[in-house]
Each structure stands twice: as C-alpha cells, then as structure tokens.
Symmetry: C2
Subunit: 351 residues, 2 copies
C-alpha cells in the first residue's frame, strides 16, 4: 500500500446514507469530509448512485468500505435482492477504487457478497462495534440513531452479540427499532394520559419522535432532518399540532402544558423501550460499563442506562461533532486500516 491514500466509509441505511472521507498519510489519518444525506430508500432507491456521486465528486477515492441496512426497505422483495442491488450500485459508482463490504466475516469484495448476500445484510453494527472496541475492550455500546437503536456487547475487544441478523437482534434486545427522529409515535405507546383519563392513540402516522424531541428541546430545529409526517414545516407549533393529532385533538383543544405532557409521556415510554432491551443485553453479557452516543443531545440511552445503575461514558469524548453522526462509517474505515496493519486510531484517546 502506498503511504498516502484517500478512503471513504459508507453507511447506506434505509432512511439516511452517510459517509466519511479520510486522508491517510504517513501513519496519520485526517478527516477531510463527512456527510449525511436523507435518502428514503423505499421511495428513492434509484437516486442512490447520484447520492454516491455527490459524496465522491471532489475527491479521488482510492478505497471505499461500505455497509448497508437499506436492503430491508420496501421496494426490495427480499434481502438478497436488496443487497445485490445496493452493492452493485456502489460498484458502479466506484469503478476505479478498491471496494470492500462489511460482512459478518470481515471485509469482503463484491464477488463474495454476490454469493453470500445475507452475510452483508444489516452488518453496519459490526463496523461500529469494531470502532468502539478501540475505546474499551469490555463494554456495552448504545447508539440511538434517527430510526433505530443498537445495543452491542463487546468483550475482549470483539463484539459478543447473541444475534447476527436483524431478526435475531430484535429478539436479543441488541436492536430496538426506535429512534430520535423517524419513529411513529403510535408505535411507542398505545395510551396517553390526558386530564385524569387515558386516551388510546390513533394508529395513523400523525407524528414522529422528531416532533416529540423538538418540543422537549432534545433536538434543535436544524437537527430535524427527516420529512414531517404531514409535509408541513418543522416549527415548534407544527410539531405540537402533529403531536396533538395522535389523540385526535388539535391546538384549539389542548393547552400548551397538556401537549408538553404528552411529549414527556412519549419520551418516558421510549426510555422504557430502551431500558427493557438494555436489561436483556446486560443480563446476558454481565457488562456494567456502557458507552453511549445519541443523535443530538437527547438523554434517552443515558436515562435507560441510569435506570439500570450502569457506568456511563459518552462517545462524544472520543469523536468530534462532525463525525459523531456518521460513526458506523468511521468503523468501516477503521476495519480497513486494521486489516492492512496500519497503526492508526481514528478516535481521540481521551478516557
């Protein structure tokens, strides 16, 4: 390997496609770009190549390490079909680069993935846990993203998850399908307390967790990066109107305090979801140290870990703001660096 090259980490998710670009020179890595693009694959999978071209445009990329979870999206009749389509598109765009994919058996080329597509399906947490193992050899890593939450046990510097596939991980608690922005409020709670009564909730997609967390100040308006459920704006007033609709109400019928209480109730129930999953992972792994990252500053995972009395460290201490939101892509790059036996750590060594 020449001693200077440019490497891109790619995380192609169902809702967001993320990337980071590092320049590696003389055993030193410099983050030269990171980007997150909202690309809902269930309706816009044909725009993936364009998105990747945008990421690439100003750089001569030598190496691409990619991971995908988007094969689960509507529009693919099976995971196999999805993995093949997505990895083919990556190959098309990065014809002139070395391209490898994250699998449950380490980094593999396109030919391997074509023959073993399920090894590459939803393997992004493998990249993430590889990165985290550089911080702590024994810990539980919790990462709440826009859509899902990973809870990954790491022992002796390698992931020791009970589940591999998404289905197995939904069973083991290691994957929780709840997130900071895109989660339909109606999937988090069936009942909402209001005026000494309990209302069952509407099953429509009337409001998402982005509304809840924006109302509560957990995210700033510029962090509301997904589409709104009614295609209206992301102002606090619109968030409140959407949240009121979850119990078939509107801003004429509820006071501000009542709407804030609804938001607090949904947040509490989301913390419960995470606490239940973390409890399963903790019971199985016996690990008491957790390293946490969250989209924005919301304390969801932190409160869940507090509920169980675990020791908490924040990933913020090891990653800068730019790269924090694309951490699986950094894991991709770290996997490659380790594979070619370069001695570079992409994380700050704080702790």
């Amino acid at each position: 390997m020449k001693n200077e090259f440019i490497i891109m980490g790619l995380d192609i998710g169902g809702a967001n496609t993320d990337c980071c670009i590092y320049r590696i020179k003389d055993n030193k890595a410099t983050l030269i770009n990171s980007a997150k693009e909202y690309l809902p694959m269930w309706e816009k999978k044909d725009q993936l190549e364009e998105c990747l071209h945008n990421f690439k445009k100003d750089y001569r990329i030598d190496v691409v390490i990619a991971t995908t979870t988007a094969e689960l999206a509507d529009g693919y009749t099976s995971k196999k079909e999805g993995v093949f389509d997505i990895t083919s598109k990556v190959m098309n765009v990065f014809k002139d680069s070395i391209v490898k994919f994250v699998t449950f058996n380490g980094l593999k080329d396109f030919k391997y993935v074509k023959n073993n597509p399920l090894d590459a399906a939803a393997a992004n947490w493998i990249a993430t846990s590889h990165m985290i193992s550089k911080i702590s050899s024994d810990c539980i890593f919790m990462d709440m993203g826009t859509t899902t939450t990973d809870i990954i046990p790491i022992k002796n510097s390698i992931e020791s998850a009970r589940g591999h596939s998404d289905l197995e991980r939904l069973c083991s608690g290691e994957l929780v399908y709840t997130g900071m922005l895109r989660t339909n409020v109606a999937t988090i709670t069936n009942k909402i307390p209001i005026r000494d009564e309990k209302a069952t909730v509407s099953s429509e997609l009337f409001s998402t967790t982005a509304d809840v967390h924006h109302i509560l100040g957990n995210i700033k308006e510029e962090e509301y990066t997904c589409s709104t459920s009614d295609n209206e704006d992301t102002s606090i007033d619109s968030c409140k109107r959407r949240l009121a609709r979850v119990i078939c109400a509107d801003l004429d019928m509820l006071t501000d305090e009542e709407i804030n209480n609804i938001a607090r109730h949904v947040e509490k129930e989301q913390i419960n979801q995470i606490t239940n999953a973390l409890k399963k992972v903790h019971e199985h792994s016996k690990l008491d140290d957790v390293i946490i990252t969250n989209y924005a500053d919301a304390p969801i995972c932190k409160k869940a870990a507090c509920n169980l009395g675990l020791n908490i460290t924040s990933l913020n201490d090891y990653l800068t703001g730019d790269s924090l939101n694309v951490s699986p892509t950094i894991g991709c790059v770290q996997m490659y660096i380790d594979e070619i036996c370069m001695d570079i750590q992409l994380l700050n060594s704080v702790g």
Copy 2:
C-alpha cells in the same frame, strides 16, 4: 314534502368516502345505489368534489345528508378548518339540493356548521347509532371499519355515549383507532413471538391489518380496498412478505407456518384492543346486548364480545350486503326521514 324524492347519505371519512342513495315514494324507501370510494384525504382532499360529482352523476338528488370525520386528516391545521373546507365542498357540489349535516345537535344546515364547526366534527357515529336504535332500544353497537372501531352504547333508543369528540371517545373506549384494513401492524403490538423468543417489532409502516386479515382468510382479495404499504400487489405472497418485514425478516427466512403464527398473534392482539375498550363501555353502560358489524366476515368484534360473555346479534341480519359497508350513510338518511316525520324504517325487521 312531495311524496317522491331522492335522498343521498354521505360519510366523508379520512380514508374512504361512502354514499347511499334512496328513492322515497309513497312511504316506501328503495336503495337505488351505494358506493364506497377510497379517497385518502391527507393527500387527495382536492379530489373530494370530483368524487361527490361521481356519486351524483346519474341522479337528480333532492336531499343530501352528510357527515364527516376527514377533518382530522393531515392537510388541515385544525378541525375547524377541515370541517369548513369539507362542508363547503359538499355545498358546492349539491347547490341545487337541500343539504344538511349531522351534528351533536341533530341535523343542521351549512350556516349553523360554519358557526359551530366542532358540533359536526367526527359526528358520524351519531348517524350510525340513530339507525341502530331502530333495531334495539338498549344495546351496545360495535362497528369495525377499515380504519377505526366504534363502540356505542344506546339506552332508551338514544345514544348514551360518555364522549362526544374523538378525544373524549378515545378516553371512554367508545372509539378505538384500529381497523380491518389500514392499521399499521406496529401500532397493535410491540412484540411478536418467534421460535421460542420474542422479537420487538419494526416501527416502520411495513404491513397493515389488511395483510393480516387476508392471510387469515378474514377478507377476500377484492375486499383489500386500501393501498398496500409497499405499493405492491395484494396477493397472499405479497401480504406474507410485508408481514415478515415487521420483524425485519423476509420469505427466505421464515416458514409459512411461522408467518401464519405472526398473523394469528396480531389478530389476537387486535381482539385484545377491542376487548379492553368494550369492557370500559360495558362497565359504564351495564348493557349486555351487543349488535355487531364488521368489515367483511372477520370475527374481531364478535370474539371481543364473547370474551366478555355478552349477548351477540349481527347487523347483517338487518342490512343487505350492499348497504352494510356504508351503514353510517343509511343512518344519515334515517335521521332525515325521522325529522320530517315519515314512518319508514330503512332496516329489515328481522330480529
């Protein structure tokens, strides 16, 4: 009133707009048409007038009695705005007819509704319960539609509901936001048993109750009248593929028996939702007789009533197939007939 006229009942819901048309002559009512059009108001409210023109086209309609629940839909910032928009559109299309709207204070004209829009918001169950009171003066009426379920207590031939608005009815159990076709499976249950484990479910809109009830044979394919969550076809195979996705799986990963078990689990949880609500209504009303209608032949409400040991009658015994799926519109017509003191019952007198 002349002794021959044509009257239309209209039920403008969030997802479906329904109508019935009766010819009234010599104290006799003949159903000359009934129709149900899937018109998702959150994206197509501008097509409502066109839809109403279609219903009207071959007839000279003398009287229109309309009810609406669509004001809750996204696209309206408040119920007031929604009621005004919808009732204005009805007025535009039926300029040459007598038009009245169902309100919590009986039938009212446009001027009243303009000044008291919330009296007309989500009042369709008033029409339905008026019709049901002709069958039984003391009963609980249960009606599971495509999207929601009404549970209405009737005492001494008048509705004796604890709630009026949707919000109040969500609290009292008299409205449950769960239905035969359009309900997101992820809002019904958080956990699904699979291979001696329990998977938490994906919070996406991957599958609806139409998939579940089609797999179980509760609805026929031609009764799958809403859009699918992935815009694919309504075959059993596609339904199974969508349902598998709720636990992040696909048809390569699950057996047929496993998918059928998931469908049965979701059905059971939906029956539980209805049972819990019915229990509230029963405890409050002390009524032991229930009259049930369901979209198609699914036994959801029946099983809920059985769970509580109540006496069950089916609305099918009183309405023909054509009109069964548009029963609130028949209630609209019955309200008008009673208001002008004609002695006509639109229901068959079986029981």
